[in-house]
Structure formats: C-alpha cells, structure tokens
C-alpha cells in the first residue's frame, strides 16, 4: 500500500466528512507558522496563544466556506492576521504614531547626506548580531512598527511570503505592500544600527 502525505485540500475534505484526526493533522501542520506570526505581531507569549486559538477556532468555524481552488495557506494567513489585528486593536497600543514613524524612517535621508561617515556593522559575526540581547532588541523594534507596517514586514520578511501573496492576504496592491515593506525595513535598520553602533547610525 502506498503511503503519501495528504495535501491540505485532501485533509480539508476529510474534515468536512467528519474525521477529527484530519483536523488534528491540519492544525499540527500549521500551528508553528501561525504561532510564529502571532508572536511577532503581538510581542508576548500570552497574546500569541490567544491569537493562535482564535485563528484555528475561526478556521474550524469557516472551513465550509473555504473554496478548494484557493490556497489553504494563503487563506490561513488571512484568518491569522485578522485575528492578530483584532486583538491588537483591543489592546493599549505600544506602537508609534504614523507621523512619528515616518519621520524616523526618513531620518536616514539626512544621515546619508551628512558629512559624517555612517558605521557599517553589516559584516559583524552572526553570533554577535544574533545574540540574546540583539534578538530582544529585534523583537522590540518590530513591536514599535505601526501595525499596518508590522503585518507586511512579518509576512514578507519573517514568514518569507512573496510580495504578491502578501498583497492577496491583506487585500492590498503590490506597490502598497512594497512601499510599506520598505518603510518598515528602513525603520528596523535604523533601530538595529543604533544598537550595534551605540547610537551612530
């Protein structure tokens, strides 16, 4: 007998047919992806757990409406980002106002024009750049991004989705995705540069 790994759509058909093990298998397949997205969006383990549960409960509730010609993972990312954004809107925000954010993003223009030389930390060893403290700074910096920038950055650069899929998940145009991504990256570059060079970025 041939044992092949069932596709997402095969599992979904089994779930619709009432086989509980198929649901367990589908959840196990995607729980790490959803949790990592939720953790990056929310910034804490407790909130990430809430988003994880909201996501899969919403999936169970609306699976009948899922059309099998669509990609399940794109649809799941949409459910998960909606769950995260809903939770974030209920919470007190730690993120920056958009005006302040844009101002900081474009401080890089003045820096690039300036007479003083910027410090290039990019060839530092990975063990230094990814030490525990640096990772904490990286997490904090993502959480400072306004949510419309954070969600694009997390899907594109952390989860590794192509810009076209990010656009589909978020109902945005590809140019809008690219412009938000660019600003998010410039902001994070600035924060990491401040950290790695002690303020001379």
């Amino acid at each position: 007998m041939k044992h092949t790994v069932p596709t997402d759509n095969e599992l979904i058909e089994e779930i619709k047919g009432g086989r509980a093990e198929a649901l367990e298998a589908l959840v196990s397949r995607y729980e790490n992806k959803v949790y990592s997205l939720a953790y990056r969006m929310m910034g804490s383990r407790e909130d990430a757990e809430d988003v994880l549960q909201d996501t899969f409960l919403n999936v169970v509730r609306s699976l009948d409406g899922f059309r099998s010609q669509a990609s399940f993972s794109t649809w799941l990312y949409r459910v998960a980002t909606n769950a995260a954004l809903t939770r974030l809107r209920k919470k007190n925000k730690r993120e920056k106002g958009e005006g302040e954010f844009i101002e900081e993003v474009y401080s890089v223009r003045d820096a690039a024009h300036s007479q003083s030389k910027l410090v290039d930390w990019s060839d530092g060893p990975a063990e230094k750049l990814l030490n525990e403290e640096a990772q904490k700074i990286m997490d904090e910096a993502v959480n400072e991004l306004p949510e419309i920038y954070r969600v694009v950055f997390v899907l594109r650069d952390v989860e590794g989705l192509p810009a076209s899929e990010v656009a589909e998940v978020l109902d945005l145009s590809i140019p809008a995705v690219k412009s938000r991504l660019h600003r998010a990256r410039l902001y994070l570059r600035k924060r990491l540069s401040d950290y790695f060079t002690g303020g001379i970025s």
Binding site: V27, S36, E49, D120, M138, D157, K178, H182, R189, L192
Partner: protein, 77 residues
C-alpha cells in the same frame, strides 16, 4: 540619481526586483557614495538577520491547550 532617490528604491534593489537600467544607476551612485553603501549593506543585513533569527515555536503547554480547545469545539458541534 541623488541619495534621496536611491534610498527610495533600495528594498526593491536588494530584492532584485528593479529593471537593469535602474540597478545600474544605483550601482554607479553606490560606487562613489560611502554612506549610501552603508545603508544598503546594513539594510540587507537587517533583512537577513530577521530571516535567520530562530522562529518562535509553539511551546508544549500552549500546543496542548490549543488541541484541547479545538476538540471541545468539535464535540460541541
């Protein structure tokens, strides 16, 4: 192209999504602009660091509670 115009296109430049001609213009600017070179290098490194950083995996207790919640939900249907 001046530094401001260069900076606008840097994400597409590092993602290799720009037309050849624009790439060449950026590269010719980068040759003589040290600060823009630093911004490109550190921007690229920022992106790879986030990509290389360990993913947050579901902790065991969180996973158990998730599967329990889903089973309860299934049984109540």
């Amino acid at each position: 192209m001046d530094c401001r115009e260069i900076l606008e296109g840097l994400s597409e430049y590092i993602d290799e999504e720009l037309a050849d001609r624009t790439c060449r213009e950026i590269e010719s600017h980068l040759k003589h602009c040290y600060n823009c070179r630093v911004v490109v290098n550190t921007l690229r490194r920022t992106v790879t660091l986030y990509h290389e950083a360990p993913q947050h995996e579901v902790p065991g207790d969180v996973r158990m509670r998730l599967h329990k919640v889903i089973r309860l939900r299934e049984e109540s249907d």
